[in-house]
């Protein structure tokens, strides 16, 4: 597989058209654009779960999709694409379709970690040939920024607000990449600020014969209460704090894709967004230390598992 080059993708007709209705600085839009560019000239069918991406790109009678696209419900991007892919296999068997077609499903973290998890796990177990991409903004943003099982500890959300006795979300987030990798499939963690890495992972996942999962941390200036012009700078802080390491798992083997020159403290990631502002107050010193310790523990484990420690 030749590496992706900017000059190859610049000037291509984009399969994700301009004119969507996502917020300014929305990382979902940036990511889907990168994903669809990585698809290149491959014939592809896309399914999307209910959420910001679907709402922002399919307001009847308009569509942002220059590829066949289907949205059915919130919990079932994976099972919907399973059906599409099964029909493709049936038609290939009968010789009614000859060209290779690729299948991609997009879901938010809610549609992936929570309500869509069963469908995703089932589809992965059945071995459908599709790439599932989680547009992970760490909350249910389309319904107003509620907590999900991807929301990190301490985050202030509309259903885990920080208050007099609670600091925001009181649970750790689910480690979905590890969970999906345990299905024995290709699973990767990516970020749109490292676009080359993300696009390479998409390409790789598309070439794999079988299920693949990519979890992308996408900045959400609205839900995170951040500066829309700094979206990618913000999200890169998660990577440099080793809160969101870039890595991939293939055949249960872990490979680290990026090691920050200098690991920045988690508070720098917190400082960039409104949802963490309360944590910077002195009374949350202990909680911040606890979160930092957990970030360190997960990072050390990753280094060890990747043979880098």
């Amino acid at each position: 597989m030749a590496p992706i080059r900017l000059k190859d993708i610049a000037g291509k007709t984009e399969k994700f058209a301009r004119g969507h209705r996502l917020c300014p600085g929305c990382g979902a839009a940036i990511t889907v654009r990168q994903v669809m560019l990585a698809v290149g000239d491959r014939p592809v069918v896309v399914a999307t779960a209910t959420g910001c991406m679907e709402i922002g790109t399919s307001l009847f009678p308009h569509t942002s999709w220059r590829v066949p696209w289907i949205h059915t419900n919130f919990p079932n991007a994976a099972s919907t694409i399973s059906g599409v892919e099964a029909m493709y296999r049936a038609k290939r068997k009968k010789g009614e379709v000859s060209k290779k077609i690729k299948f991609i499903a997009f879901g938010g973290d809610g549609g992936t970690y929570d309500i869509g998890f069963q469908a995703l796990s089932g589809a992965a177990e059945r071995g459908h040939d599709f790439v599932y991409i989680c547009l992970n903004n760490e909350g249910y943003m389309n319904t107003g920024g509620q907590r999900s099982s991807a929301t990190p500890m301490g985050a202030d959300t509309t259903t885990s607000p920080s208050g007099k006795v609670l600091p925001g979300k009181i649970q750790w987030r689910k480690d979905m990449v590890r969970v999906m990798a345990e299905h024995g499939i290709y699973a990767a963690q990516a970020c749109p600020s490292k676009w080359m890495d993300l696009m390479r992972k998409v390409e790789k996942a598309l070439e794999i014969d079988g299920p693949a999962y990519i979890d992308v941390l996408i900045p959400c200036p609205t839900g995170w209460k951040g500066d829309p012009s700094q979206s990618l700078v913000t999200v890169q802080k998660a990577v440099d704090a080793c809160y969101w390491p870039l890595y991939e798992i293939e055949g249960y083997k872990i490979k680290l894709n990026y090691k920050p020159k200098e690991k920045i403290p988690i508070t720098e990631w917190f400082r960039s967004q409104g949802r963490f502002q309360h944590l910077l107050k002195p009374e949350y010193k202990d909680l911040v230390a606890k979160i930092q310790a957990e970030v360190d523990r997960r990072w050390e484990r990753l280094l060890k598992d990747a043979g880098e420690a």
Partner: protein, 390 residues
């Protein structure tokens, strides 16, 4: 002639249809449909891609994805399985996808009950699907084949539920006619999908979102498919009769021409009612039966035409309807009759909930009540229950 259960008859029809994709999840009492079909797949006698999902929600989602991709799609379910599919059921009909689903009717929890009643499909009656109710294994078989043709008709393009009574019909063994494979193949013909997702050179968007400025128009246009089905169901039935000698329409009128007392019912209980009608006719009682085969679309004008001249009518509902004044079939029949200049007195009975038996003597009791109403012109009890401990 073959000796088959209702479930086996359906699996046999599915084998002959040879759909491109079946996505399914087991639930009693329709489980044997998919088990039998899985064996066909394992033996290589069908080309179907069998997607054994992790839930009914995913089964229906995969059916929708597969049908939108552009091919023939089927599944089987019932009861809580259908309930678990619910949000995707609406997507299937709104996309106008010709999916065929076999439903062994079963009660809904709680308490858990695996036996037959119509509460499951009645809960889905307004989802925009066509609903055909089968009297016996023969009709299960015949309905699956006709359903393919009805669902795919260019004017209809609407999914179909083929309903049959859990255990009573699903597990009842009957001698029935199975047509030669070639005959079925010719009858259903080739399927030509419109706007298939797999046609990547002509990309389409399925499942956009509507603001208040469009949804009413979309729903209004969707219902046209259901209205068109009224004629198509009859036409397909006639064509099927030419081929097989077995006749099917929206309704079945049994000894109604000169009847004074009538029962309206769906599915297997119609057979019991027919026996009772025969017996009463020998005694000179002018009894008749109207069996509803198509509950959706509801054949209101045929119902009105066949019942208008009767003196009294009892509608038998096999579903539990929380808080309503009678069951859904009762409401439909009353609506069909209300604006006629003259119409019979109509009463309602709930029966067979959770598999409760109904014997000929219960049906005879209903006709006795009808006879009283016909004589006095007075309804003493609008809603009754058959074979209930009170």
């Amino acid at each position: 002639m073959r000796t088959l259960t209702g479930n086996e008859a359906i699996a046999e029809a599915m084998r002959q249809v040879n759909p491109d994709v079946i996505a399914a999840y087991p639930i009693t009492p329709s489980t044997p449909v998919v088990e039998k079909f899985a064996k066909f797949v394992a033996d290589g006698v069908v080309d179907t891609e069998l997607v054994t999902t992790e839930s009914e929600h995913s089964a229906m989602s995969a059916c929708v994805g597969a049908a939108a991709a552009g091919g023939r799609v089927m599944t089987a379910t019932g009861a809580v399985g259908l309930a678990f599919m619910f949000e995707v059921i609406y997507v299937a009909s709104s996309f106008r996808l010709p999916i065929v689903v076999a439903i062994a009717n079963r009660a809904l929890n709680a308490p858990l009950n695996i036996h037959g009643d119509h509460s499951d499909t009645m809960a889905a009656r307004d989802s925009g699907w066509i609903q055909l109710y089968s009297e016996n294994p023969q009709e299960c078989y015949d309905n699956i084949i006709q359903a393919v043709k009805i669902a795919e008709h260019p004017k209809v393009r609407t999914p179909v539920m083929v309903c049959f009574d859990g255990f009573q019909t699903s597990h009842m063994i009957e001698n029935l006619y199975v047509e030669p494979d070639e005959v079925v193949k010719r009858f259903i013909g080739e399927y030509k999908p419109i706007y298939p997702l797999l046609d990547y050179e002509h990309p389409v968007t399925y499942g956009a979102w509507d603001r208040p400025d469009y949804l009413m128009e979309h729903k209004r246009s969707q219902v046209e498919g259901l209205y068109a089905a009224l004629e198509v169901i009859n036409d397909v039935g006639k064509e099927y009769e030419k081929l097989t000698g077995r006749r099917y329409g929206l309704i079945e009128a049994y000894k109604l021409e000169d009847a004074e007392l009538g029962i309206v019912v769906m599915s297997a209980t119609a057979s019991t009612v027919k026996d009772v009608v025969n017996k009463l006719r020998e005694q000179g009682v002018k009894a008749g039966l109207l069996r509803i085969r198509a509950f959706r679309p509801f054949p209101a004008s045929e119902v009105a035409k066949n019942l208008a001249s009767l003196k009294s009518v009892a509608v038998l509902d096999r579903s539990w309807t929380g808080g309503a004044i009678g069951g859904p079939l009762f409401h439909e029949v009353c609506s069909a009759l209300y604006n006629l200049d003259t119409h019979p007195k109509v009463v309602n009975y709930i029966y067979g909930i959770g598999g409760r038996d109904v014997y000929p003597e219960h049906i005879e009791g209903v006709y006795q009540d009808l006879s009283k109403i016909a004589k006095t012109g007075r309804i003493e009890r609008l809603l009754g229950y058959l074979n209930l401990r009170e």
